[in-house]
């Protein structure tokens, strides 16, 4: 579970909201299979305390993919979606 709030280290291609909650941003990029977006997200977290949170979010997301599939991230029925919103 991602509980800690990562610290933003600078501007990037990804909006500031993404920095406050790594998992929704990560889910969005993975769902779109947007590797450049993932790279930008990683770059923003690289020199901050939030890198661990991003790594945990990545692990949780890949794990959740086993249960729901990558394409189902936008499905509101998926309980994880609500969980992401609470972060």
């Amino acid at each position: 579970m991602v509980r800690s709030r990562p610290h933003a280290c600078g501007a990037g291609e990804v909006g500031s909201a993404d920095v406050r909650a790594p998992l929704p941003a990560l889910a969005q990029k993975v769902e779109a299979k947007d590797l450049a977006g993932l790279g930008a997200l990683y770059g923003m977290f690289l020199h901050s305390d939030g890198l661990g949170a991003l790594r945990t979010a990545f692990k949780d997301l890949m794990q959740a993919s086993f249960l729901y599939g990558v394409e189902s991230f936008s499905n509101v029925d998926v309980p994880l979606r609500n969980w992401w919103r609470t972060l």
Partner: protein, 171 residues
């Protein structure tokens, strides 16, 4: 993984997911400060990231471990079935053969499927199914290529040491 109605698509979906995860680790989660290690170079090579210009920058190993852990936990979501489906997927592949794919492409597909085998705890289930299907293929002459059969057996023996003992079958 939990959707039993789509078990037949499980392995191809897992291959896609693994490919997406590998791509993310090798291309997106790249720490340019870190020196390249043999394991990371191997990952980059598997995901076709080594170009004429030289090896790709080092992927963040923590993300590599996170991906591996996610797959190990994910495979536990269902007992037995993933191991069975891996064996069946290999059986279909060996019967169909490479068709229009090159030797290297077909070999790469087999490699990717065998990587999934590492994540399952039910290796004995896989062995049982694989042995049974292999025997049928050989007895009924249904295998598309004896060379690839030998190749897969060799890889399984190499990767699982004594766990994959094929008694009575000479590779």
């Amino acid at each position: 993984m939990k959707d039993s109605e789509h078990d037949d698509e499980m392995i191809s979906n897992l291959l896609d997911l693994k490919s997406l995860g590998d791509d993310a680790v090798a291309r997106a989660f790249v720490d340019s400060r870190e020196a390249s290690s043999p394991a990371l170079s191997a990952l980059a090579a598997r995901t076709s990231l080594v170009t004429d210009a030289g090896p790709a920058p080092a992927a963040d190993r923590e993300f590599m471990y996170a991906l591996r852990d996610a797959f190990q936990v994910g495979f536990k979501a269902r007992r037995v079935k993933p191991a069975e489906m891996i064996a069946k997927y290999l059986d279909r592949a060996m019967r169909k053969g490479q068709k229009s794919a090159s030797d290297a492409e077909f070999d790469s597909l087999l490699d990717r499927v065998l990587v999934l085998y590492r994540f399952t705890d039910d290796k004995d289930v896989f062995r049982t199914f694989y042995h049974r299907m292999l025997a049928k293929r050989l007895l009924l002459a249904r295998s598309a290529s004896d060379d690839f059969e030998k190749d897969v057996l060799k890889k399984l023996k190499e990767r699982t040491w004594l766990a994959f003992v094929l008694t009575g079958i000479r590779t």
